[in-house]
């Protein structure tokens, strides 16, 4: 009963938070381009002309050939001076947005590409052909753009070039108002039947539990994603900003990005054999990218013995792998830079991806996300009336021990795990639901 009450309260807060943020979201004054084919064809001609430009070797620029204009969702808006602006989405995800805006004034047609990274609130302005012209902080609520150091490089805007007639007002170092961009979409939990909003479009369930998987998997998944969404929504409401590289935000994104699909199933996974000692060990789960989705397989044998808290721990760990797998492929995403910065252990010094990602991802989790995983586990435990079975440890400490699960192969574990034999004992107790475990088992 208490668990249900907690869930109801949590859900209510999430829903309220989402409604609040939706109400703050100001609509762009846009109309459809239906019946205005001449404007659309003007924009298409402009875009095709840009494709003729040579590909820039400057890494600050973008290659427009990597993006596919979404002509079906092109919208018309007006500048303050009544000039026609045709806005064409080039790339949209939960973490950012890129669009081409074409300005038509008489026979003159110019354009600008805007790239907004929600994680950093950074706005990048490019010429229609993808050359970086300006960047800075963008306050979506006030619709104010403050350029980074007003350097000489950007003064070329007033010296000719494609940006001349783009309506950026208030040239100079102070705050300047620019064409409106979509605001940051609130996190949603489509799996719960809500969703909608945001820029993503689809509101279908993103983390799917396959048939013939025991019901507890769905319950645990729902609880983890709901509390992650709640944490992100509250952070956004109260702090006005979200750390997109937190465990809650990662899970929330995984659970709500229309193009990030995860399927969870259960199947028997054979024990692994230590090539040196010959000892066998049970694999709790595997994660792999297959065509169109990430597949998480929970081992039937493990599910048969593990406590709910242990299953939650494993699921969060696999979600981290799934998040990294998607993150690594999103090189065109506006948030890719911040993903790389936050997860530098996945990359070599030259920027390419580390060869053995299993090892690298475990190091990254162990170095950056153990506390976040522990927090998520503690919330799961609290909302399911699970307490620490060890009187010497608080629930928080106990969950932190469990958060090290699957990471004993890392250097960070050797350095930072508090009491390794206790950690391993607690992990084993939970994996086997023995008398020293939390003993809560639905699976």
């Amino acid at each position: 009963m208490k668990k249900h009450l907690n869930l109801i309260i949590s859900s209510a807060v999430v829903v309220l938070a989402i409604c609040f943020m939706q109400s703050c979201k100001k609509d762009r004054n846009e109309t459809s381009l239906q019946g205005k084919e001449d404007l659309l064809s003007t924009a298409e001609s402009y875009y095709k002309r840009q494709l003729r430009s040579r590909v820039s070797s400057d890494t600050n620029d973008i290659n427009i050939r990597n993006y596919k204009p979404d002509w079906n969702n092109a919208k018309l808006s007006k500048t303050a001076e009544g000039k026609d602006l045709i806005n064409i989405p080039l790339y949209t995800s939960a973490s950012g947005h890129i669009e081409l805006t074409v300005l038509k004034e008489g026979d003159n047609v110019t354009g600008v590409i805007k790239r907004l990274d929600y994680a950093t609130s950074k706005l990048y302005l490019y010429t229609g052909s993808g050359r970086l012209r300006s960047k800075g902080e963008y306050d979506a609520a006030k619709k104010v753009f403050t350029k980074d150091n007003y350097s000489n490089k950007f003064t070329t805007m007033s010296m000719g070039g494609e940006l001349d007639e783009v309506p950026i007002y208030g040239e100079g170092p102070g705050p300047i108002i620019i064409i409106e961009l979509p605001t940051n979409p609130p996190p949603t939990n489509p799996g719960e039947g809500g969703g909608g909003g945001g820029n993503g479009g689809s509101s279908s369930s993103i983390i799917i539990i396959l048939k013939n998987t025991r019901p507890c998997i769905s319950d645990i998944k729902n609880s983890i994603t709901l509390s992650s969404n709640l944490a992100v929504a509250l952070e956004q409401s109260f702090m006005g900003n979200v750390d997109y590289n937190s465990v809650a935000a990662m899970i929330s994104r995984l659970a709500s990005s229309p193009t990030w699909n995860v399927e969870i199933k259960e199947a028997a996974i054979p024990d692994t054999v230590d090539p040196i000692s010959g000892a066998t060990s049970t694999t709790a789960a595997t994660t792999r990218g297959v065509s169109g989705h990430v597949e998480i397989t929970m081992n039937t044998g493990y599910l048969g013995t593990a406590t709910d808290l242990s299953v939650a721990r494993t699921m969060i760990h696999e979600f981290m792998h799934a998040y990294f797998e998607y993150g690594l492929t999103q090189t065109l995403d506006p948030a890719y830079d911040s993903f790389v910065k936050a997860n530098n252990l996945l990359f070599k010094k030259n920027g390419s991806q580390v060869g053995d990602q299993n090892d690298a991802q475990h190091e990254q989790i162990a170095n950056s996300y153990v506390n976040g995983i522990a927090n998520a586990l503690e919330i799961y435990a609290s909302t399911h009336s699970i307490t620490s079975p060890d009187p010497a440890l608080t629930l928080s400490q106990y969950c932190k021990d469990l958060a090290w699960g699957g990471l004993s192969d890392t250097n960070a574990y050797s350095k930072y795990a508090p009491n390794k034999s206790r950690v391993q004992d607690n992990l084993k107790n939970e994996a086997t639901n023995n008398s020293k475990s939390t003993k809560k088992k639905k699976c």
């Binding site: 040196i276 000692s277 694999t283 492929t329 070599k348 053995d356």
Partner: protein, 172 residues
């Protein structure tokens, strides 16, 4: 006349033969060495098992290695690679030892606990002998943690180079 025809035939066959590069055991060794060198750059202590295990290819999708990766420029999306990968007959692949006359190709110094043990699958070569794919599966010696990686290599100027790496499975 007959002599001339034979000469023409021989000359016309010459480029075809040149396309099929001769593969030797050294090619296999060089590929394993390149992969080990790449793994070692991650600074972890590693252990190379002295034999191949064909079963490592079972979970790899040769027809669609992309998984969730939608990038269009991956090497396996090139036509020649597609043809190679789609025509691999896994039934004909046999395991072998990574040793020459009992001497292992890779020295595993201080074989103890807490290392990543890597098992290779046999190297699979394209018919022309200019492409190769090999899979490694890893397992941490004191836990069930590990993963599977596909390595895509090409032979250029008589040297094998790793062209693309695809991590396709994470255990635990």
């Amino acid at each position: 006349m007959k002599k001339a025809l034979i000469t023409i035939c021989l000359f016309s066959l010459f480029p075809v033969c040149c396309l099929c590069q001769q593969l030797t055991r050294l090619d296999t060794i060089e590929i394993h060495q390149n992969i080990v060198k790449s793994l070692k750059t991650q600074s972890k202590k590693i252990l190379i098992l002295p034999y191949t295990k064909k079963s490592g290819i079972n979970s790899f999708d040769f027809n669609n290695p992309s998984g969730i990766d939608t990038a269009g420029n991956r090497i396996w999306k090139q036509e020649a690679w597609k043809v190679f990968l789609n025509h691999i007959d896994t039934a004909t692949i046999s395991d072998y030892e990574l040793t020459t006359r009992g001497k292992p190709w890779f020295k595993n110094q201080g074989v103890t606990k807490d290392k990543y043990a890597y098992t290779f699958t046999p190297v699979i070569f394209s018919k022309a002998g200019d492409k190769a794919i090999c899979i490694t599966t890893s397992k941490f010696t004191s836990s069930s943690s590990g993963g599977s990686i596909a390595w895509f290599l090409e032979k250029n100027n008589d040297k094998w180079q790793i062209k693309e790496v695809k991590n396709f499975m994470f255990n635990d």
